[in-house]
Symmetry: C2
Subunit: 400 residues, 2 copies
């Protein structure tokens, strides 16, 4: 019996269903490890010593490499002085200044732990500012596991969704109609950097849609809330819709802004400052200094290495390679989303049957892919890593 | 201008209201620093170099001393191997086993970041298990800053509270009545380790009340949800109502269980395991290994040093000293809550006027107290620290 199996047996007894949430390996093809031992750069080792080139980056947080020496040094140095206390350190000011300088729409910052803390605070600020209740959310989008933010409704009364009408992402008519139906009560519209619903092909944001949402918010006085928790810093070092010249009023950040140290951020424009000061939001660990030190170090690296351009290049190299291999092996791939956050599926693959076999085979070749969730590139991936990963996927295609 | 003032000026520009949440020094008497520089043992230094014996313990998370060498070593060692990845490490199993062994009612564990994540997950599990909607919450209690969990309603539609009827803590008749009013739809009852509402005198849990709540839940099939985020591990190394022989069905933990490393936990009994497996709850940083290593180290220290007994002793020493000083200086103190989590107010002190002056004076003597929130003792406080703090409070009484 493998060490992973032993741990699963123990885990079954003390963790509901064996594992909770998105890291439950039960949702992955056979052979995927549940438990990991070691992480470095773009590589992971499971508890049985198997080594993988990782294309999930811990589902996003890792962007500058696991155990990045500069980020770790900054966080460790801060931990040797002070992490928590009865108030924050000066780093909270430094980080708020950095983010409001870097992100065009931002005039102020609030820090939290979960990306979902940040998206929820955005809603509260939008409601406090407008005095209205309704927040439009794209059907199928995920803004965290809190009841309002997720499609999964087990344990949540229907009434919790009553103020969150749905619209179709990239569909101007649907969002206009959803807004019209709650006329006079529209507090905000939540959008994502792009359409990255798990289990579906991804879709880049239609710039026309982005501009129409901005106009809708301007016309109605509702807040444009950009959830950049997942896409943030990988498409742009500004907020993701800046690519189309569209600025949100409020934006939510998390995952990779401190390369895996736990921190999330709410950024907002001047108009929403007063409401943000009136809303009471907080948490025991929201003022932790070490993740702020890590964030400052991470943001510096992302700027120095022009992360979005670099990740796009690496992702495109991987995408091109997979395309060529699929052609050669006679498969039709469905590659969607931005190259820096690629989703790889097979055409007409009901239940991800082919995808599961492909990912299992790639895993055996030391390449950790995901069959139904967008993946992530990092600055720790070098061209040689992409090349080596492609050697693995080529052999994986060969087994199909 | 002090460094604190300079940082406040910069902070005003980039943080709404100068600071968000419970660490906004604007709610404290004049002279309290907003920004801190260094932490060690039971001592804090602000950015201007002032040293304090700290009685807030970062509002609870610190229980074994700031930068406790054993806890830091465990967390740092883990960070040098792996903190985040595409799944958890074996530490999640070790920690779930430790907690389910240590906490009588617990058969399983789910980990999160904020205490409020844990209290919210408890509600979801209770609702998923019962198929009902209503959760009774004590009037004035705080279970986190998420809308349902807090008294502060800015930015929250009234409808968000519709499934959270209020009752009076320690009032058996009021909770029976609240339950009767939602008969057939009662999913759970949320209680705290004791009544620790900020801004009010505290109240220990009446054992009769605890037993009546247990019976109410048994009779109705509702979940007894214990929010032990704040009181946990300071009154008992089991869940806090174990002191009266009352076991909850679900309990929420956070703050001090990893001595300040960010982790929260939901613990539950066998009956609720299936519902817990059906509810989808997760977060980007919920599987972090370093805080789990810190939690294992912290829990070992708490057991070795019999933390509740030791903190009770230290707190009683502080309470007795304050009582004697107040008598001698002609003041009537209102000391409430358990000695390990003391609240110190003055009788008939409208607007905390005397309390503010006393706390400001104590601060100048190097003693960091809080005028309207419960305080926290830690294992890093030695009798000599309590003695030194009492010298400071004696001089502070003298200035009133």
């Amino acid at each position: 019996m493998s060490i992973d199996d032993e741990l699963r047996r123990r885990g079954e007894r003390v963790i509901p269903g064996g594992m909770f949430g998105h890291m439950n390996a039960g949702t992955l093809p056979p052979g995927y490890p549940q438990y990991f031992e070691r992480a470095e750069g773009c590589r992971l080792w499971d508890v049985d010593g198997n080594e993988f080139i990782d294309f999930m980056c811990a589902y996003g947080p890792m962007i500058a490499g696991y155990r990045n020496p500069q980020v770790s040094a900054a966080a460790d140095r801060q931990r040797q002085i002070m992490d928590i206390g009865d108030g924050p350190t000066r780093l909270i000011v430094d980080l708020a200044e950095q983010l409001t300088t870097q992100i065009s729409h931002a005039d102020w910052a609030i820090f939290a732990k979960n990306g979902n803390d940040a998206t929820t605070v955005c809603n509260m600020v939008a409601r406090a500012h407008t005095g209205r209740r309704k927040i439009l959310v794209a059907r199928g989008a995920y803004h965290g596991a809190q009841p309002w933010a997720s499609r999964r409704t087990k344990g949540t009364p229907e009434e919790d969704y009553v103020h969150f009408p749905r619209y179709e992402f990239n569909d101007i008519e649907s969002i206009r109609q959803a807004a019209a139906e709650v006329e006079g009560d529209l507090a905000g519209v939540v959008v994502s950097g792009f359409k990255h619903d798990a289990g579906f092909p991804q879709a880049l944001t239609d710039p026309e849609f982005a501009r129409a949402v901005r106009k809708l918010c301007d016309d109605t006085g509702a807040a444009l809330i950009l959830d950049d928790v997942r896409a943030g810093m990988r498409l742009s070092l500004d907020s993701s819709w800046s690519l189309f010249g569209v600025q949100p009023d409020l934006s939510a950040w998390g995952k990779c802004i401190a390369n895996g140290e736990p921190i999330a951020a709410v950024l907002g424009s001047e108009t929403y400052r007063e409401a943000a000061a009136e809303v009471f939001v907080t948490g025991s660990f929201w003022y932790q200094a070490a993740p702020m030190a890590a964030a400052l170090a991470t943001l510096a690296i992302l700027r120095q290495e022009d992360a979005p351009r670099r990740l796009d290049h690496l992702g495109q190299m991987f995408r091109d390679g997979l395309y060529e291999q699929a052609q050669r092996h006679g498969h039709s791939l469905l590659q969607t989303g931005p190259p820096a956050m690629p989703t790889v599926m097979f055409e007409d693959d009901k239940g991800f049957e082919v995808g599961f076999r492909f990912c299992s085979a790639a895993l055996r070749e030391g390449v950790y892919l995901h069959p139904w969730h967008n993946m992530f590139l990092s600055l720790a991936h070098r061209e040689s890593d992409i090349g080596r990963a492609l050697e693995g996927t080529d052999r994986a295609f060969g087994t199909l």
